[in-house]
Subunit: 542 residues, 2 copies
Amino acid sequence: MAKEKKQPRPKAETPKGFRDYFGAEVTERQQMLEKIAEVYRLHGFDPLETSAVETVEALGKFLPDVDRPNEGVFAFEEDDTWLALRYDLTAPLARVAAQYRNDLPFPYRRYAMGPVWRNEKPGPGRFRQFYQCDADTVGAPSVAADAEICGMLADTLEAVGIPRGDYIVRVNNRKVLNGVMEVAEILDPTNPDKFAYERGVVLRAIDKLDRLGVDGVRALLGEGRKDESGDFTKGAGLNAEQMLPLIEFVNAHTAIQSDLASYQQEIDAPGGERVLQGMVAFQKRENELLGLPKMEAFNRVKNQFAADYLRSIVKSSMCGVEGVSELETISNLLAAQGYGGDRIVIDPSVVRGLGYYTGPVFEAELTFEILDEKGRPRQFGSVAGGGRYDDLVKRFTGQEVPATGVSIGVDRLLAALRAKGRLTGETQGPVIVTVMDRDRMADYQAMAATLRQAGIRAEVYLGNPKNFGNQLKYADKRASPVAVIQGEDEALRGVVQLKDLILGAKLAQEATLEEWKSQPAQVEVPLAYLVEETRKLLDRHR
Amino acid sequence: MAKEKKQPRPKAETPKGFRDYFGAEVTERQQMLEKIAEVYRLHGFDPLETSAVETVEALGKFLPDVDRPNEGVFAFEEDDTWLALRYDLTAPLARVAAQYRNDLPFPYRRYAMGPVWRNEKPGPGRFRQFYQCDADTVGAPSVAADAEICGMLADTLEAVGIPRGDYIVRVNNRKVLNGVMEVAEILDPTNPDKFAYERGVVLRAIDKLDRLGVDGVRALLGEGRKDESGDFTKGAGLNAEQMLPLIEFVNAHTAIQSDLASYQQEIDAPGGERVLQGMVAFQKRENELLGLPKMEAFNRVKNQFAADYLRSIVKSSMCGVEGVSELETISNLLAAQGYGGDRIVIDPSVVRGLGYYTGPVFEAELTFEILDEKGRPRQFGSVAGGGRYDDLVKRFTGQEVPATGVSIGVDRLLAALRAKGRLTGETQGPVIVTVMDRDRMADYQAMAATLRQAGIRAEVYLGNPKNFGNQLKYADKRASPVAVIQGEDEALRGVVQLKDLILGAKLAQEATLEEWKSQPAQVEVPLAYLVEETRKLLDRHR
């Protein structure tokens, strides 16, 4: 008879790419979500919570990586229906907007927060479950809705603790991109499906400008590019004439920034008013900018300068010109509310991976430097993004429903604040009522209850009480500020000992033997004054 | 050539058994979770958030329905590993306690909140995703930990708005159940696997006492039971002698309650002190209960009476007697803190479905009546449950790690409060700035921004502004309290119209034509006083 095989023990491990969050990590995120929700709510957005699971059919296939359109989600089959974990909060919103289209108020402003799941290769700091916090407006065709989202995004970043100057909201427009494609003759408005492959290659190439440089992009626009490892990526196969407007476009951001930087220098210098006046007059904005300090006025004309620059590239495309006009409108609406070009910038290098955008796209970037894993300084980068997606609801209903929105990557934003030391999650543990006599557990629990009734976080030690040292080690591990001690002797006299653990730890490092012996970190108080005396010790360390 | 088939449109539907939550439903839950977390935190519990996805191996198979141990979860295979959505928050805690056993402070008090998923047949009010909010203590062998959880559960229910008297925490002990099984000779301590089938049938039968009655249970203990539809359920096949202690046990709860009810009547009557004194003397608690009002003292001896009753049934089983002693300790620890038998009750009818409990089990029940779907009054029933599970962590490590905890069914608790009209989710919408002149969008957005800077929830109407009636209909649908109106004429004069929409709606129902014409619900104010005047209107309806 074969020997019975013993079942091996299960491994105590999170699945690959998932992680656990403890203590302050949880409360800090919760506090951030509440702050973001408060800004969204103040702007008239209402909460919506959909479930984690959607039908694959309803989710659609909109993940960035167009090379593997079927992958990227966690899917499973139930009762002959394929279900999947949501990969973002936008696809569920499109489903909701279609499903409840007769009941919801339109325009429908909604916010949503929660985890999303991506079945992607995990990496350092890159997990398969992460939090998003989105706000979207469905049913508002005007770019005033996009402007509102961009302004709200700036407000949100400031509300969670990113000061002005440490972030920038960059705005572009898919229509401008399409305009350039038209000029380059790889977009035929009468046949939108034509040249789809070429456009895909071009978009991804532009998106990688940072990494590849202009020459790398040029190679991808042409025959293709061999990377350092020798791998060859097939290009879009464009000719020189087609490449010209694309390269001009790729260079636009750098060119605009460099022009604006020299203007800024000139304006900032004594007599710089004259240069500014020239720009203001060219933009016919004398009335609007009258009386503003010169750098503030400059902040408000910057984006118009960028728009004029882009218009010169796409001027032969109707779609492109419309896109630039929309960017102008957004920037003017925002400038009127005081969001100048120092916070919200027209930036043609913003592409945004997702294929479903149809108009303005935007991205919030943190501009301060942090140290990467290898100690090298680098810009923190993008923490939020979004844009207009007018066709997502149409998938369900056949009717066009305009929509625009933003998604904040809450975990990245938390990482940024943590890197800057700007998070204040609670680190102080509870008051620990120690157990000297295990038969008097009821008394100890009553003490903890008394403290709690006064709003003081408190608990009784529930491990094996035999070794008192272990109780203090536990209190230390919990970062407990105060230990309450009552042995037989104290109980008979109706008193307790309060041990100030924070002062105690400090003394242990610094005190002389004499100081130490005088036990300044421990006081004996009547049991009746437990609350008042504990509070005194807690107040010491506020 | 075959004609190309057009892709059908996706259905805008939640998957079967899932639902969406809108507006106040979301905020009310969020507020409840915060209140619960605050009580947990005050008791020294620290937050933990694990991800939705675990390995199937780590989750184990502990769902109640022992007939289908492999089902009940949403599972999927990734990279040769079976993963599943968590079905509760306890299994992930056991995994965490094992995985981080060298780093966590023990006893480890943690709380967790979030959705869990069950792949079960959905029904009315029964969804496949729902919220739980758990608190557990891992590493505390003493039943003081169980007592703490029971007391905290009572505090939590009161904190979320269930007044004393509307809930009861019922406590039982698996060891008492096992004791009865030993007495009935279907549990052999030297061979715990023996009679597992019989015990499964017995447990499920006892759990269904409410529905089946004593005769139904008796049938299941014996040969089996035919239900109304004619379906036959095989029984445990016990003989009359074996059935006796089990039936006595099944009847115990009713017997205890009926005895206590007649004592209560006697004690409540004039001269009832004598009866009470008898009970107190029998329990040797004269000192402890000295000076308490008689009904309060009675509340504190009730549970001891129940314990004595149970002891008489299991007296020949060591395990059973130990279980009764634990119940006594729990009830005494709680009574010392003022949690009397009116709030926390020893109740042998509590079974709790989950197979992993090893000691005390508890359940919080709401005792008020609500109307069911058919308008019939019924008790609301259970909203939370838990117990001691000393073997869950051992699965991973091989070492025994005692643990106890409670899980609150947040969605059921919300439904209860909703049924009693005790939820105060925000229902007032934002102030709506209407759009009379679409070229002046920047001005309207600036007005909304001004209101928001003063902390007033406000938004600009972003639909097609052409039909003003639609703007007011939208404001109505959003439950907006105030509309701001500025046409060309008002703009020139530097004023705005404020429309009190709540008063307006009231007048529309009640006012005479004369009253209506005088437009009392609309005021004209200088734009510079927008904030102050809007606030006045909002304050009217607080």
